[in-house]
């Protein structure tokens, strides 16, 4: 956000105050964003008194300052708003939809007046009288409802403290005062003002006091002395206040504001560049000094000391300068609670918004670029994704839809995931539309896997929405979303399961992002590997004690046994044509190197390097298109000593090394119908031996619990008598080549698998949940009975290969004769 400039109005008192008005505008703009969030959050948790107090304080501050600058309209509406908030805080009314709605309207009105002031210096002609009235009316009606309803709300606010002389003066400074209905005036009676208001007053009076001191010829505010006195009253009041409410950490904002200043972006850019030059000059200085001292044969310790000091200072200066350009993605996310809330009300939906990873940092310029596309995706999710409450309930979902926003660093890129649990995208409708629009022939369309079909929604003018709503018809379509994201070198992926929900993933390049990375060596080369992709490091050594790691060949491809699983290996030196010391090892020559276990959504493998130098934060720099096209490097970075180091792209390397296929959710994937399984659902269960495993939901017919006495043993195999026939039981631990546990409970839980060769009951300890993993199954790692792995809540979970549970697959299963 740039510093808004206040054009000089046609003379008047504004001129003297211009600086202060500007400051007020900037401050207020931030406060308003915060208000949006706070109000929506308050709606969720109306008893959050700290948050309410913070809202009250913000509105109060704007009111007070507008009075000081003589912005009458602003003063009037914020006064009404403050009154309503006061009622709320004092527990006289409850926070309902009406109240939140009118308060949000207030925020919008304040914002529009501030914008007007910013542009013209004046408040403009718009009349906000209606708003003031509805603020008062809503308060009045809510109070009535409250009386009639007889609901008792426990008051969390401390008992009122007499503060008689404090509230009056500021209120009196607002010209709009006489317009208030008499009832309202009664309720602002000073006796009722509890502590937060006193604090608020103290705050504003401090500001006023400072201003008064700085601008002696400022417009007279007769009440200033009275306000100023409040400063002295506050400490006493505070000491009497109850211990702080533990629930809300929100109140840290003011302190943060005091610790930051606004800097022009161009200036920051110049600073970063200059620091870069300094680094180079430092390097030159070092080498010159080294050469000179060596040539003269005297190693001038004083000079070396100075050079060393310049070296360390430059390094930290560089690191610090780079960080100045980073901002948390929160700057985009912070708008969403309000947007989602408003939209949900408009569309008649209930939506719970979950935000995760708001502190993920990315370059400020990117933040601006992704704002609109992300907003559009969020709007889409609420408007088209999440069903109306009655539909949801009919479908057996909770009435409130869930929209989750998640940002995280992955493989050195910033990923933003927008996920809803709505109706999903009707793939067949998209398929038809694509054919109708001539994008694909009917025959081809029929063969296309679903996730490929979904990508047609990114085509210009593509919309399957039955009705063009007010929300979606805003000019920015999915094609614009994709164009905008691709313009910054990012990508958009979409996955959707009809009836279950839609996940859109936006991959934002890491241009300038600061990421933790591992610096590795291969031969004489150094590379950086994004730490986010690194799972663990393992040294390859000779098998001296039998427990050491060894490399095996599997059809020519080296693999490593890692905790019972096979990890495919890629030797970096070999891949890049570098003479490296890491090697698979041959008879007589033990393997050498360090295995960096890399995992992204799609692949898991071990990258074998010569050694790991250090782990450090790096600033990612873009590389030219010619080098990006190699598909091996995600960028480059300049290390502390000025050396350029290429950043490896774990995904690209897996591709270059022809790792097992990467299925789905990536537009680049050559999806065939065989691996067309986007966002499958899995039943997560715990085995009797305590292993958490996943069973593909489509294989599951039913879940059943059998009493122990229905279990029978037939020739050493366990079977269950159900529905008049015997069904064989496969023990999940047995399928996974583990040790089956004895049946020690009075009942046994089983997952009945529907298979063409007959039903089989898979014995589990308990059923945990049904999940749709964020990423498709990773087939890269198989073992007996394991089809692959999926990530469930960040944990790798093995997916059962049900074929191993079928009759005949296991020695313990019943003979085919017992099943029909």
């Amino acid at each position: 956000m740039g510093v808004p400039s206040v054009p000089r109005p046609d003379g008047g008192a504004m001129n003297d105050n211009e600086e202060f008005v500007r400051e007020f505008l900037v401050e207020s703009a931030e406060n308003l964003d915060q208000l949006d969030q706070d109000l929506v959050a308050l709606e969720e948790n109306p008893r959050d008194t700290q948050r309410l107090a913070s809202i009250f304080r913000t509105v109060h501050t704007i009111k007070g300052t507008s009075g000081f600058f003589g912005f009458a309209k602003l003063g009037a509406i914020t006064h009404s708003g403050e009154h309503l908030l006061g009622q709320l805080r004092d527990g006289k009314i409850d926070l309902d939809n009406d109240v939140t709605g009118v308060l949000l309207t207030l925020v919008d009105a304040v914002r529009s007046i501030l914008e007007r002031i910013e542009k013209t210096g004046g408040e403009g002609e718009s009349d906000f009288h209606d708003l003031s009235q509805s603020l008062d009316r809503v308060g009045f009606e809510a109070a009535k409802r409250r009386e009639n309803g007889g609901v008792v709300v426990t008051r969390l606010t401390p008992p009122p403290t007499p503060a008689a002389p404090l509230t009056e003066p500021v209120v009196a400074a607002i010209p709009a005062e006489p317009e208030l209905p008499p009832a309202a005036a009664d309720e602002t009676a000073p006796v009722d003002a509890p502590l937060p208001e006193i604090c608020a007053l103290a705050e504003i009076s401090t500001v006023a006091e400072i201003r008064a001191a700085v601008i002696p010829d400022a417009p007279a505010v007769p009440d200033l002395p009275a306000c100023a006195e409040a400063v002295e009253v506050v400490p006493a009041g505070l000491s009497a206040s109850p211990p702080p409410q533990p629930a809300t950490p929100r109140t840290k904002r003011p302190a943060v504001a005091e610790q930051s200043i606004r800097v022009d972006l161009g200036l920051l850019g110049t600073l970063v560049e200059l620091v870069g030059e300094l680094v180079l000059a430092r390097n030159q200085l070092e080498s010159t000094v080294r050469h000179t001292t060596a040539a003269r044969g005297d190693d001038h310790p004083e000079l070396l000391k100075v050079v060393h000091r310049i070296d360390t200072v430059t390094a930290s200066l560089q690191a610090t300068a780079m960080k100045t350009r980073m901002q948390p993605i929160e700057h985009v996310f912070s708008k969403f609670p309000r947007i989602v809330r408003d939209l949900a009300v408009t569309c008649g939906k209930e939506v719970t918004l979950e935000i995760d990873g708001a502190d993920t940092e990315l370059d400020r310029s990117l933040i601006e670029t992704i704002r609109d596309p992300l907003t559009h995706l969020v709007r889409n999710a609420v408007d088209h994704g999440i069903e109306p409450p009655e539909v949801r309930v009919a479908r057996g979902k909770p009435a409130a839809g869930r929209l989750s926003l998640r940002a995280y660093h992955e493989s050195g890129q910033v990923m933003v995931e927008i996920r809803d649990d709505g109706g999903g995208i009707p793939v067949d409708a998209v398929r038809k539309k694509a054919v109708a629009k001539g994008l694909v022939s009917a025959e081809q369309a029929a063969l296309l896997p679903d996730e490929r079909v979904l990508h047609y929604i990114f085509e210009p003018g593509f919309s399957t929405a039955a009705t063009v709503t007010d929300v979606s018809g805003r000019g920015v379509g999915m094609d614009v979303v994709r164009t905008n994201i691709e313009a910054i070198g990012g990508a958009v992926d979409i996955g959707s399961v009809p009836g279950t929900g839609t996940t859109v993933r936006v991959r934002i390049p890491l241009t300038l992002a600061i990421i933790p990375a591992l610096i590795v060596s291969s031969g004489s080369h150094r590379f950086a590997i994004p730490q986010a992709a690194v799972r663990e490091l393992i040294a390859l050594r000779a098998g001296t004690n039998g427990a050491a790691v060894s490399v095996e060949g599997l059809e020519g491809a080296p693999v490593m046994r890692l905790r019972g699983r096979l990890l495919p290996l890629v030797f970096l030196g070999e891949l890049l044509g570098i003479e490296a010391s890491a090697m698979p090892g041959t008879p007589g020559h033990p393997p050498r190197g360090t295995v960096v276990v890399l995992r992204s959504d799609e692949v898991e493998y071990g990258l074998v390097v010569d050694g790991v130098t250090v782990s450090e934060d790096i600033v990612v720099k873009p590389i030219v298109a010619v080098l990006v096209a190699l598909g091996l490097y995600a960028g480059a970075t300049v290390r502390g000593d000025g050396a350029v180091v290429l950043i490896l792209d774990p995904r690209g390397i897996a591709q270059a090394a022809k790792m097992p296929p990467r299925p789905a959710l990536d537009c680049a994937a050559e999806a065939t119908s065989a691996d067309a399984a986007p966002l499958e659902r899995y039943l997560i269960c715990e085995s009797p031996a305590g292993r958490v495993v996943a069973v593909p939901l489509e294989e599951v017919a039913r879940l059943e619990t059998f009493p122990r006495d229905r279990l029978q043993h037939a020739a050493g195999h366990m079977v269950v008598h159900r529905e008049g026939r015997l069904t064989s039981i496969a023990d999940i631990d047995d399928v996974l080549a583990g040790t089956p546990q004895p049946v020690d409970l009075p009942a046994m839980t089983a997952v009945i698998l529907a298979a063409t060769r007959g039903e089989v009951a898979l014995r589990v300890q308990r059923i945990l949940e049904v999940v749709t993993p964020e990423a498709p199954i990773n087939h890269g790692l198989r073992a007996r009975g394991v089809l692959g792995t999926i990530a469930v809540a960040g944990r790798a979970t093995e997916v059962i290969d049900v074929r191993h549970a079928l009759p005949g697959a296991l020695p313990t299963t019943a003979t085919p004769g017992v099943t029909p």
Binding site: L576, K621, L630, L632, A636, A643, V644
Partner: protein, 162 residues
């Protein structure tokens, strides 16, 4: 840098473009001077494994990562090791450096004198050339950065596929 344009006949004064001239393998070449950001002598520290053969490596230019293209290699001449003169060009939002043998001059060339009929020749030398100017002491070949980059990728891809 002096601006003695003696190398080129003045000719038609109406429209001129400024070029930066340099020598590679004994021949005279030129690039549009408006794209030239700076010229310096130096070495490249970071090679790019599996990158185009003509890219000698990456430079750190005040925090900016710039690939250095060895023009001898790119145009099919015998490469020489060691330091080179870097002519840093910015075009199309990207910055590249051309490693040349020696910098000659900065000259204003009348547009009318630029011969483009032979442009589009085959081969690694021909494909880099976007124009020719007859100077007093021989031909000056005008190089286009897009042309240089385009040819950089293709052969590399083939080589990579093995």
């Amino acid at each position: 840098m002096t601006r003695a344009a003696e190398m080129i006949d003045p000719g038609n004064q109406a429209m001129t473009r400024r070029f930066c001239t340099f020598v590679v393998a004994g021949r005279a070449f030129a690039v549009d001077a408006s794209a030239v950001q700076e010229v310096f002598r130096g070495t490249v520290t970071t090679p790019v494994p599996r990158g185009p053969a003509a890219i000698r490596g990456l430079l750190n230019l005040r925090g900016r990562i710039v690939p250095a293209i060895d023009m001898r290699r790119r145009m099919g001449f015998e490469p020489i090791a060691g330091e080179g003169i870097h002519v840093v060009l910015t075009a199309g939002g990207e910055t590249h450096s051309l490693i040349v043998d020696a910098l000659t001059d900065v000259v204003d060339i009348p547009v009318a004198l630029i011969e483009t009929s032979t442009v589009g020749a085959e081969g690694s030398l021909g494909e880099c050339i976007v124009g020719v100017v007859a100077a007093r002491d021989g031909l000056v070949h005008l190089l286009g950065i897009e042309a240089i980059l385009a040819g950089l990728v293709e052969p590399t891809v083939e080589r990579k596929i093995r």
